[in-house]
Subunit: 385 residues, 2 copies
């Protein structure tokens, strides 16, 4: 095992890349999908299951963890890895995005953001320095800069203002992070749907010579084509030798299209959240198990899956569990969805290595389309309510 | 594997016995604790976990399953074993107890009971014959007679009336069940807290020559001493060569005391329900993980446990999960509780086989008392709210 952070691109196919991030806690095979472990748990999953599916890294949320159980408490208990029984790499977000989306009474100024907890109304503040401090207390392997993420659509002025503030915060985070050989801090490209601002943000962050670059502020409700255009806009300005992380994305189709455009890392609550709400993602598209049409269906989600949940339980049983609001329904569908996401990533990595990505993408989309044609599934790109 | 139902007592120690029920679907080691799989799932557990803990049989509830997904549907899907991925023995209750406790607008007469579903208000009826038919459709290995279970305390007249009705229903269930070599139907001794009625019920059921005998209508709020006295009253009248099942019991202390008095089988929602509500049962007593005193405790519930959930997660982490209402908290505590219950049963079986049951009971109670003395735990006999 290595004692420092490194990234190697092993193969490319068009703009797509496959490679490895090496860190003291393990190797992250890219393109990678990172299951979201919001409050120190990937919801409804035992950590060893998450690893067994092929996830090399999970995401933790600073906003949730700073409020409960608290970063200092996690540190005193040995760090987030020990706390949640996940000895492999952890990436943490900076807290900024969830402060905007979950907390009340936010006040943003040059210094940072002040907000009230959605749990108990208590007042907290988050500065670039405090965000990095918290991520350090948690023991995070890949830490994200604090940024301001504005809602889209928004005025170009507001988007530009937030992008410039985020750049100044990136610099402060870089200083606060300092040198930590086994860990990395990533910057976040902002700029909304404005190409000029995206390019400026990317160039300025690259000047900071960070370990990796995220594209933030996307998948916040804009059409997929806007998101993909922003990736295409930013990609040429990011160094080839650094990992690229598209934050909060996405559907299987979003992931496939983003990998084609050179993205290396993804995180999204979709497979876990959808699993808790009765939706399955499979090779044959997206299925709503709540639907009465599954009540008498003895077939599993995918008899050829390597995942026990996908292969060994009938749709009729999953339908029954979902209708009965049984915890096992959430457990099985979360498990199956994460398995499908990891299977998709493994397929993408293999296809890139074999220089047959376009064929793989076509086969994958044909599988989803077949499910829709057979009346079994809905398009995978559609976001569930 | 055998093709018929049999029970063998392998060893005794005082009134306590250890033995084996053999059936086509597997061997049930007694004394046995049967996890409750209400709606075709032991809540928050994968079926293979339940088996791995040492559970040889699970319980299914006719009331829940007849309402959703429906007995005929389960039959058309291949039976309850296939439906819920549990190929081992299943015992089903008759539905009577939960009709009384969960449904609205009950009408009981000689023929059976009519009631409204708690799910959608639809009207259903359950007769002795229909209960056995449903249990057959489910494919249940051990089926229970329909009985009328009255609340305690109650008038002797009401208790006697219900006991006599239950006896007539036992006879009708016996006829409806007929001869099913690989399966068994058990009768249920009723009679409230009235010794005379309990004895009469037991004797009349024994005259029916059933495959096993349950003691019903206990653990419904009466003091433990009343329950134990009723077991002592009934036990001499039950045949030594048939299994004895104390329905709906109980706390670890209830189980230990009942095993001492000759009971072979138990079921109870306590370990699973308590697990979903933040309570752990361990060798050191009962712990409420919601309590703030665990917030900084890095120690696991029991470092010597064979169960991963009990051994590998800190109390601080479990506390965090419970406070955050995370599904993983329910999963880990349910797992740990069922592990402790199965560990206790294995300990009881071994102690009886080695004729050291009283020593084992004393050691077990000393463990619980030590937890209470150390301020770590609450008495295990106390029923959580």
């Amino acid at each position: 095992m290595t004692d420092h952070f490194s990234f190697t691109v092993n193969a490319t196919d068009g703009a797509a890349r496959t490679g490895e991030i090496r860190m003291p806690r393990g190797v992250i095979r890219t393109p990678a999908f990172m299951p979201v472990g919001t409050a120190a748990t990937v919801k409804a999953m035992y950590p060893e299951q998450v690893k067994a599916l092929g996830a090399d890294v999970v995401l933790g949320n600073v906003y949730h963890l700073m409020l409960r159980p608290g970063a200092e408490r996690v540190a005193s208990l040995g760090g987030l890895h020990a706390f949640m029984n996940w000895p492999y790499p952890i990436l943490t977000d900076s807290g900024g995005f969830q402060v905007m989306s979950l907390s009340a009474l936010r006040k943003i100024d040059e210094e940072g953001v002040t907000f009230q907890s959605h749990i108990d109304g208590s007042t907290h503040s988050l500065t670039p320095e405090r965000s990095i401090e918290i991520q350090g207390l948690l023991g995070s392997d890949i830490q994200m800069q604090l940024d301001e993420c504005v809602k889209l659509p928004n005025s170009e002025e507001a988007v530009e203002k937030a992008m410039r503030l985020s750049l100044r915060w990136a610099e402060r985070c870089r200083v606060a992070f300092g040198e930590q050989p086994g860990r990395a801090m990533f910057g976040i490209v902002q700029g909304g749907a404005v190409e000029r601002l995206r390019v400026e943000s990317a160039r300025a962050l690259v000047d900071l010579d960070l370990k990796g670059y995220a594209i933030g502020g996307l998948a916040v409700g804009e059409p997929q084509e806007v998101m993909l255009r922003m990736i295409e806009t930013v990609e040429p300005h990011l160094p080839r030798e650094k990992p690229r992380y598209l934050m909060g994305v996405g559907t299987p189709d979003d992931i496939v299209e983003s990998v084609r455009r050179g993205v290396d890392m993804f995180d999204c609550v979709m497979p876990t959240r959808a699993g808790r709400h009765g939706t399955a993602y499979t090779r044959f598209g997206r299925l709503n198990l709540k639907n009465a049409k599954w009540a008498d269906d003895p077939t599993p989600l995918d008899p050829a899956s390597a995942c026990e949940a996908t292969r060994s339980y009938s749709k009729a049983y999953l339908h029954h569990l979902v209708r009965s609001q049984e915890i096992l329904g959430m457990m099985l569908l979360t498990w199956s969805n994460l398995a499908y996401y990891q299977e998709l990533m493994a397929g993408l990595r293999k296809a890139i290595a074999e220089k047959r990505l376009e064929d793989f993408v076509a086969e994958t989309k044909e599988g989803w389309a077949r499910g829709v044609r057979d009346g079994e599934a809905e398009p995978v790109g559609k976001v569930e309510s």
